[in-house]
């Protein structure tokens, strides 16, 4: 079954990169992109994606706030945070906000596909830089 993905990041070049990384999977479809938290909430409401790939540090509304709101308005959508913050504190905040997965941007090429696969099956996936087995230890 096709996994429908919404990609959210304020930098178009990063969205391009995420599209390239995710686009190689035959059963995944990028349904749309958003450039900030407000746009992400709006598009998640309308499109009801299976997975929202969500940056944290964005203008207008941060990814954490968007994560909380999307979890309330579209509980079926799973959220995978993809961020530059290689921090256990930030990871905990993201999980408390309702994210199912957490990947550090510098490791996106290594972790992104496995993370999307996991969260699309409602399994958690978390990995910090240099600690691929930390906390939830990747795939569970």
């Amino acid at each position: 079954m096709t996994v429908r993905i919404l990609v959210v990041d304020d930098h178009p070049v990063v969205r391009h990169g995420l599209r390239t990384l995710l686009g190689g999977h035959p059963e995944w479809e990028i349904v749309d992109e958003a450039a900030d938290g407000l746009e992400a909430i709006d598009k998640a409401d309308r499109l009801k994606p299976d997975v929202v790939v969500l940056d944290i540090t964005m203008p207008n509304m941060s990814g954490l706030e968007a994560c909380r709101r999307i979890r309330k308005s579209v509980p079926a959508s799973e959220i995978l945070v993809v961020t530059q913050h290689d921090s256990p504190h930030m990871m905990r905040e993201a999980l408390e906000a309702g994210a199912r997965g957490y990947v550090v941007k510098s490791n996106a090429a290594r972790d992104l596909l496995a993370a999307v696969e996991a969260v699309s099956e409602h399994r958690p996936f978390t990995a910090l830089n240099g600690q691929p087995n930390s906390t939830h230890g990747g795939k569970q």
Partner: protein, 233 residues
Amino acid sequence: MKLRILIADDHEVVRRGLCALLQAHEGWEICAEATDGRQAIEMAAQLKPDVIILDVGMPNLNGLAATRQLTQHDPQCKVIVLTITDSDQVIREALDAGARGFVLKSDAARDLVSAVEALQRNRMFFTPRVNDMVLAGFLDKGYNGSGKEPPRLPKLTTREREVIQLLAEGKSSKEVACVLSLSTKTAETHRSNIMRKLGFHSIRDLVVYAVKNNIIQVQVPSHFHDPVEGSVA
């Protein structure tokens, strides 16, 4: 013949995005990808790319220091600096280092192709803010290299700038020596000279200096900001 482009960014997801953006342009090819400034310099020496695109915030050797070394070695070298901020300090450093293009990462999807096209035609490409600064520099003889503005930073050698970044990233003198292929004693001498020139007494002073002068970049967790407003990456 294809235009050969070298890109350097420590984030693979950004490199993927840059590749997708640039390879869509007919007649251009990515000849190599580097993950830090040092690797970019090595690859540039081997491959002689037509255009080099360097992120500013990279580990080991940042994009501005790499630009400086590349243009010192080859003044005709065409470098585009890719940055998350167009602060006066970064603009001044980039121009001083010899960059011919300056593109904000947030605008890369819109501006990067235009920037490469400009350099391909032996022209320069800057954001409107950089153009304003350059123009202001010519009008008031400020930062146009007239030599009348007093230098803001103490005169540091290229090697000392490299050492500052590595020390500020938390490396010991021994590790610095290893990265730069020096003896530990030489690395310690560089460290002493830097501390003396800058009037510093601790590594903490050095780290603050490195952050203030964009030699290293520090992630600011978003919980330091209003959670609704967020901050710019």
